[in-house]
Symmetry: C2
Subunit: 99 residues, 2 copies
Amino acid sequence: MQARADVFKALGHPSRLAIIDALASGELCVLDLNKTVDADMSTVSRHLAVLRNAGILSSQKRGNQVFYKLECPCITTFYGCVESVINGTGQPIQLEDVK
Amino acid sequence: MQARADVFKALGHPSRLAIIDALASGELCVLDLNKTVDADMSTVSRHLAVLRNAGILSSQKRGNQVFYKLECPCITTFYGCVESVINGTGQPIQLEDVK
DNA sequence: CTGGTATTTGCGTATTTTGCCAAATACCCC
DNA sequence: GGGGTATTTGGCAAAATACGCAAATACCAG
């Protein structure tokens, strides 16, 4: 249960979701990812470490750079469900609660 | 993107996952949930608020008590994928990286 | 309205997360 | 070896989370 929570926790940051989005179309190096995330490169590197430690990404060093890859593309299939949560599909959500 | 992250963040705590598990079979009141979670009732209440604010649960007050219900049962379909992340199914995960 | 049960909220504290800078490390090319 | 690029790590401060206790609130029953 803690292990599950760790995976979700790793997904619980906008920058990390942006990284996953970027990696959905193929592997990228840190510098590439840094262009899409708008944070210090060291910060991006730490986000990548979080995702890698959770098992969501894998890394491979090639020459000068480190390439990251989505280890589990099924992650992106979550989004449909997450969107429905956000939009309140299924049941009305009290908007003042969602805020 | 922030909204997505908020949903995942809400899922990123073992007690909250336990709550979702318990609610998978039907709605329950706070006292019932408190039995399955092992934390102060006030803490459980706060976890419930987090899940509700994320749109994952809805609440309905009936008489003396408040019943919580899974708003989006598709959440539990995440688990298959999460398990595969945990187990490293799909692609080999370097264990020394996952640590 | 009084007592009792169910739930939430205020508050203080401990812990975790985030993010930057600067320094360290790794690797390539010359 | 020396310089340059790519990435990670140490250290620190700010912000967010987690959690228990006690108090507040809501509601039912008598």
